[in-house]
């Protein structure tokens, strides 16, 4: 019988939630890495026992962890003892070094600021090779490992897209979204707060901004080629040229791989928000979580509502059954929503209040799996045979 494994990263550790395909009864393991901030965990789609985790701390920096047994045990890929007599472990798996002369990006106040590595926001395992994994960094850059996260190399071509003009969003200058095109291994989409969305069509050597059609009233030139605070991208694997975006304000879509975006906010009560997800089996069914504003990072009107569009945007319906509809002031962060691929598609999200919710029926009905975790930063789901 199928089952699901939910990987939850929080401000003070990681948790693994498991259930059978009914998604009614859950077991909760954790905290793993207690006391550390777990920005993100994600499993290899071709080796479900291999899970990568970004463990970090303002005090102690970045650590990459890897499990090869479905989360039962963990190791730093470059730090484990090497079995050969006298050999020393290399301890390099937390080493992220920018290529070449890094120069500077713009700071919050518009002055140049030296590029400096702070943390990994997002890990994206390859669709084709379990040893390959991509990492999105703050300060914004894309790294790739070809050896199971032991060593990392940057794609410096991305920062050549006017990186000296990029400015941090409120959460930092982070590369938070990495979308791999299942039909084309050479094509990758990334998004950066607050630089915008970018695409490579040659495996990462060269990149181009894909922000035409975005309009951001908080930057001097609302139609600028770069500088947009893109919060999240999502695509359905059957149609990789169709990409959905939660922009800082506005929900957007493109039907031509980012060459032009159109606004699909439609009847949303507010179009500010962070996550956006696509139904596992319905490419035109998408989900967002409207947040009141960029000053008030909590849900609108004290009601925790997921909005679903079955028409690829513009027409939205609130999903509320099982979710608090009064006195609720949580947020749902950009990496904290995910779907499973069971026949009845499950939707999951975690809140800044420490709840993780599941809907086993595509959003119609919701239930809290757990109420009182630390602030949830990320949620990923594995559908296991």
């Amino acid at each position: 019988m199928s089952s699901v494994r939910v990987l939850v990263g929080t401000a003070k550790g990681a948790f693994i939630l498991t259930s059978d395909g009914k998604r009614e009864k859950w077991s909760i393991d954790g905290p793993l890495f207690a006391g550390w901030t777990i920005y993100h965990m994600k499993a290899s789609p071709i080796d479900p026992n291999r899970i990568y985790a970004s463990q970090c701390s303002d005090w102690f920096g970045q650590v990459i962890q890897r499990s090869d047994d479905g989360g039962k045990s963990w190791q730093q890929p470059g730090g484990e003892p090497v079995p050969e007599m006298g050999a020393m472990p290399t301890g390099v798996s937390n080493k992220f070094v920018y290529e070449g002369d890094v120069g500077s990006h713009m700071s919050f106040d518009g002055t140049p600021h030296p590029w400096a590595f702070k943390r990994i926001w997002h890990l994206e395992p390859s669709l084709w090779d379990s040893e390959v994994v991509f990492a999105g960094a703050e300060d914004a850059a894309l790294f790739r490992s070809n050896d199971g996260a032991m060593t990392w190399n940057e794609f410096p071509g991305l920062r050549k897209q006017r990186g000296s003009e990029w400015q941090p969003g409120a959460g930092g200058l982070g590369l938070h979204t990495i979308l791999l095109d299942p039909s084309n291994p050479l094509r990758i989409y990334v998004a950066i707060s607050a630089a915008g969305a970018f695409r490579t069509d040659d495996g990462g050597s060269t990149w181009k901004p894909i922000n035409r059609g975005l309009r951001s009233k908080y930057i001097p030139d609302p139609d600028a080629e770069i500088g947009h605070c893109v919060h999240r991208l999502a695509l359905h694997p059957s149609r990789p040229d169709v990409v959905f975006m939660q922009l800082h304000w506005n929900v957007m879509r493109t039907d031509n791989a980012g060459d032009l975006w159109t606004n699909i906010s439609g009847n949303l009560p507010t179009d500010f928000g962070f996550p956006i997800e696509v139904h596992a089996h319905e490419p035109e069914t998408i989900y967002v979580v409207p947040i009141k504003s960029d000053s008030e990072h909590f849900v609108h009107e004290g009601k925790l509502r997921i909005f679903r569009s079955r028409t690829g945007g513009t027409e939205w319906e609130p999903l509320t059954k099982g979710l608090p509809q009064r006195d609720c002031y949580v947020n749902v962060l950009r990496d904290a929503m995910a779907t499973d691929s069971l026949d009845s598609c499950g939707i999951y999200f975690g809140t800044t209040g420490g709840q993780v919710y599941v809907s086993p029926d595509g959003g119609d009905n919701w239930k809290a799996i757990v109420h009182d975790l630390p602030r949830v930063l990320s949620v990923e789901v594995q559908t296991l045979a």
Binding site: S57, F60, V63, G79
Partner: protein, 102 residues
């Protein structure tokens, strides 16, 4: 020159990462300085590389502090000789997280 046994105290998060207790003993090449102690620490516990000082510049991470003999020596040059009490093992070299929030 003979190595000296140096006591090193680390914060909880680094203890769990290195899978050690609150205090460890390292054999350190002389001269005994913050730099040589950290070299020995990272050699024995490579999972700590990058968590105390930068991989490339070897600069102390800004939210960590180094103490010895009840003094904050964080801003001393990395090649400053540590006190005799640390060299003799009477006092530990302490690595600690800066007090800055929860």
């Amino acid at each position: 020159m003979t190595k000296l046994e140096i006591r090193v105290v680390m914060p909880y998060h680094l203890q769990t990462l290195a899978k050690v207790g609150a205090e460890i003993v390292l054999e350190v090449e002389q001269p005994v300085t913050p730099s040589t102690v950290l070299d020995a620490l990272e050699s024995s516990y490579p999972m700590l590389r990058g968590t105390i000082r930068d991989h490339l510049t070897k600069n102390r991470r800004p939210m960590l502090r180094f103490f010895a003999c009840e003094k904050d020596i964080s801003h001393e040059p990395a090649n400053t000789l540590l006190p005799d009490a640390v060299k003799s093992g009477a006092e530990p070299f302490i690595i600690w997280g800066a007090v800055s929030g929860g």
